[in-house]
Amino acid sequence: MNATSYSLIKVIMMAGFVVFFTRCTGDNASTEQTNPEWIQNEFMPDSNNIKHQDIAVKPPPFSEGIFPCSECHAEMVPNPHRRKLEYMHVKIDSMFDHDSKNRWCLDCHDLNNRDSLRLASGKLIGFNESQKLCGQCHGDKYRDWKVGVHGKRTGYWKGPKEYLLCVHCHNPHSPKFKPLAPMPPPVRQEDIH
């Protein structure tokens, strides 16, 4: 009898401790800190998966000195006809491999506002939300990207994350992911002395 009442007390005390402990850690988890150095992202998609978190994105990877485009284009007369590109865009022209038979610059860039991208609907969007443009055709990838399955998230699995945009990994003018040199293979067992 004595022994059973003792073990009963022990169980109750342990249960109390567990409840106390989980409460403490729960409180800790809800006071997440955000890193002020990260760019606050106001243009993230409205995914239910990320509503409670601050998500930051690196600025789009422009070639140096190329943005804003209007710096050069402001003085040019817009030409809406498909042609071979010259001067600054020779490289883009030679690498262009993104359904190049059917598409060209003005399917994504706006004729009159070169600092904007242009959705199929005609709506202008900034370069920092280019994922919406990509998502027009690559809807399945866009869907997966929004929930963090396609693409890459870094930072905290529980807390602020950093997202990459499509264009951080895929050059929009030639989007296929380029092969990489592998790191060295492991030492063969027969080579261990």
Binding site: W157, F177, M183, P185, P186, I192
Partner: protein
């Protein structure tokens, strides 16, 4: 229970005591102290603090560096899971070397927790024809796919069952951990693991001084000694601080996903519920928490 005060048991105890004294006579006080330390799981908070304090001193002596050694326990609200997109992995081995650096794996002799297997698409997943030594100029190679394999953090881990001294166990957050101080190096766990995920320190680990990661966890990436087994811990020193494992951070194609299986909104849960998912050697009922999936 009846107390056994027979002459027989007295002599038995006496002989054990004599042998122990003789065995320990050749050691210094620190070694004796270390030898008499209890299993990490039964230590009180105070004893853990003492143990870590002593460990820091010995690391300072050995490596000339100040180490941070965390003993942060699982919070209770997490069960960690991992997902890897086989349709995107290109076999570049960035994860292998990021893991080596983060987790203080021996460079010479070489210990690598992650092995990347190259397989032929026409054969499918076929371990008999897999190759870890591929070394072309560029990856991926035509007609091949890649499976990085490290500890699968099984829910039903055979390695834990066979350990004769209980030096390895499954933590409440699902990570299978090892107390390197308690491991006797019998390597039963390595024989039991169907994934080849456990690695043995055949010699004193060789790590260049400037490469040591001093931010460590007691059950994770703290420097090991010769004669103990080690393996992936999902970067316990990082994930218990809510950070992603380092392999997730480094992966250039974003094939690696990590999260809390108990959180319905986590990436891993989305993958398990919406993608084609497989686990390796399912028929062995090890119940891995490492899921491979096809993102496309």
């Amino acid at each position: 229970m009846k107390k056994n005060n027979s002459r027989r048991s007295f002599l038995k105890n006496l002989s054990v005591a004599t042998f122990s004294t003789l065995a320990l006579a050749g050691c210094d006080m620190r070694a004796i102290d270390e030898f008499l330390t209890k299993n990490f799981r039964v230590l009180s908070k105070k004893e853990k603090e003492d143990l870590i304090h002593k460990l820091k001193i010995s690391y300072r002596k050995k490596y000339g560096k100040e180490f941070q050694i965390s003993d942060k326990p699982a919070t209770g609200g997490e069960l960690f899971g991992y997902a890897l997109d086989l349709s995107r992995c290109i076999g570049c081995r960035r994860c292998v070397y990021a893991c080596v650096e983060e987790n203080n794996q021996s460079r010479d002799p070489q210990v690598q927790w992650i092995q990347v297997l190259q397989m032929e698409k026409v054969r499918g997943i076929d371990f008999a024809h897999a190759n870890v030594y591929y070394n072309p100029e560029k990856v991926p190679e035509e007609g091949h796919f890649y499976i990085p394999i490290a500890c699968q953090q099984c829910e039903n881990p055979p390695c834990v069952k066979v350990c004769p001294v209980k030096a390895t166990w499954k933590a409440p957050d699902g990570i299978v951990v090892i107390d390197y101080n308690w491991c006797i190096g019998c390597r039963y766990c390595m024989a039991a693991c169907p994934y080849g995920a456990r690695h043995f320190n055949w010699a004193e680990p060789g790590i260049p001084e400037e490469k040591l990661n001093t931010d460590t966890h007691y059950l994770g990436n703290r420097p090991r000694i010769k004669g103990v087994v080690e393996k992936c811990t999902f970067c316990i020193q990082r994930v218990r601080e809510n950070l992603y494992p380092v392999c997730v951070e480094i992966c250039p194609v974003g094939a690696r996903k990590f999260g809390n299986l108990l959180d319905e909104e986590s990436e891993v849960r989305y993958i398990i519920e919406n993608k084609r998912v497989l686990v390796l050697k399912e028929e062995l009922n090890t119940q891995p928490k490492f899921f491979y999936f096809f993102g496309v």
